[in-house]
Symmetry: C2
Subunit: 327 residues, 2 copies
């Protein structure tokens, strides 16, 4: 089951020529979860190899306009396309009030729109994973989002199954799926007899906008990937504190305490290009990257490797070729 | 005095990978007039060689979201930049009501914002040109905008001046500027004695969204450049009539009747790429172009030539190079 994160917008507050404001697309198998939706997000998707999918769920972290400004226009586009599929938007307290104001922008929709206000700490259970929200520190109703997969059954131990006498065939599939089987000689074989220890699922944590916060450390504990805002460098620590944003060092300390696999910094103030923030963070937490728009981070199962940044991973091959021709 | 028009967004209703929704930048000398401001316009500017200028005036044609959706975020960006310069937004009836809804998106501004509601037909006089509004047919409060330069003084007739005995020097400058001079022999020389007939100023007309309309023909009479919407091709004439939009042929008929110099089609439905609309229009009015985003149309004084489409005229040279490398 593939799991990756597409960086659609990585700037703070306002766009630059290189970076659009906040939007992330989490892809898991065939599922597409959009986290935040700044002005221009639909076009970022259209310009990428992803295209603009018929998203079924959109998750907002808070209601500063650089995190939701593109949502009314995306809703409108879905309507113009004749969509009938329901759409659910999740966000912290104030979502209904926000949509009261936004409705002027998207008008009447021909598909069902559901708004779900979430409390920090609320958890949404799904068949194979849960979506966790957690409190952050941004001076307003705001949450972070985490996708936490359920542990997978352990690896099937073929030697143990042979030794017990489980025949090759459907019985082994049932055991792998966690179901006990009864053999022809009436012995009952339970999954624990032929499976290794459960294997951990993956965990991807997205801070949204926040000052350095212990709640994020707790939420990010042992995550494979933590996407943390890093609006400022050390030289602007005062401004970060005033505006309840993080510095690159703040984010790196959170990542170190939480012992995450990889830290990705995003939400860069327009004055930074990336390397300066990466440098400050890596002095504290070496496994840090600063993705550009259209970069992708792939998150494999632990036994297959560690999360990897794929530069331009969401660009069309043609554009990639053009972009490298221009270097 | 340079005059040109930068096509920042040329799609209708929603963006495509190639085209952003409606925005045009009219540049005259050092002045920058933005007409319409769809979602993403500030980033279209940032990605262009124009950059995002401290616009002093923005002109809206009507209040469908694909014509104003980027405005609140642009206003917010100006605020974040610490702007103090006043900004005036012009638009048809409903502008104050619209801003009541948009304020939720841009919050408090640290610079003065003035809103001017215009009646179709209202004219704004400026030192060297006037901005004319005219009624269009779009089923709601909506206007088109035209920039109409005042006639310039005629060409200075050196031979006539020599014959009359006007000495080379400041007297000739005064006459060229329209002021009479008294020669040392007390003869009064008036400008008409040494100037050719007044030379026409230039005229650029922007339809905004409209069905085919005689009012646009009247407004566009003898324009150097008419930018007319052409949302649909002939195959969708019914849909154009229903939605009060134009086909390429409608626009071409308006251009032919108004005897304009050049017709530029914009506001293309996402199903069209350009050439099919150009073909239908040129059968009626040959001098038709269908600009892409970042194309520029230069409008020289009549004695220096006709309006010219400069492909990619608002792209950085580097991007132009990359773009042609990709062909």
């Amino acid at each position: 089951m593939d799991l990756d994160l597409v960086f659609l917008g990585t700037s703070a507050s306002m766009p630059t020529a290189q970076r659009a404001p906040a939007a992330l697309l989490l892809r898991r198998g065939g599922e597409r979860l959009l986290i935040d939706c700044a002005e221009g997000t639909q076009r970022q998707l259209l310009r990428s190899s992803v295209g603009l999918p018929e998203l079924e769920e959109i998750f907002l972290t808070h209601y500063h306009a650089d995190h939701f400004g593109g949502l009314p226009f995306m809703l409108k586009t879905f309507a113009l396309r004749g969509r009938e599929l329901p759409l659910t938007v999740y966000g912290p307290a104030g979502l209904h009030e926000l949509f009261g104001a936004l409705r002027r922008l998207f008008g009447r929709l021909n598909y069902p729109l559901e708004l779900v206000e979430v409390e920090p700490g609320e958890i949404f259970e799904r068949p194979e994973y849960r979506l966790e929200t957690f409190p952050v520190r941004h001076g307003m109703a705001a949450v972070g989002w985490a996708l936490v997969e359920e542990p997978r059954p352990g690896r099937f131990d073929v030697e143990a199954a042979d030794a017990i006498g489980v025949p090759p065939g459907p019985e082994r599939g049932m055991l792998q799926r966690g179901e006990p089987v009864t053999l022809p000689d009436e012995r009952v074989i339970t999954p624990d007899m032929v499976l290794g220890p459960p294997r951990p699922g993956r965990k991807v944590v997205i801070s949204g906008d926040t000052a350095r916060s212990e709640a994020v450390v707790d939420a990010a504990r042992d995550a494979d990937l933590l996407v943390h805002e890093a609006t400022f460098a050390e030289e602007e620590r005062g401004r970060a504190q005033e505006t309840l944003h993080s510095t690159a060092a703040d984010a790196a300390e959170v990542a170190r305490e939480a012992e995450v696999g990889l830290l990705a910094l995003t939400h860069l103030s327009t004055r930074y290009f990336g390397p300066e923030l990466a440098g400050e963070a890596r002095a504290i937490f070496p496994e840090t990257v600063v993705p550009k728009d259209y970069d992708v981070i792939e998150v494999p199962f632990a036994e297959r490797g560690t999360p990897q940044l794929v530069k331009g991973g969401a660009l069309h091959r043609r554009e990639e070729a053009v972009s490298s021709a221009a270097q």
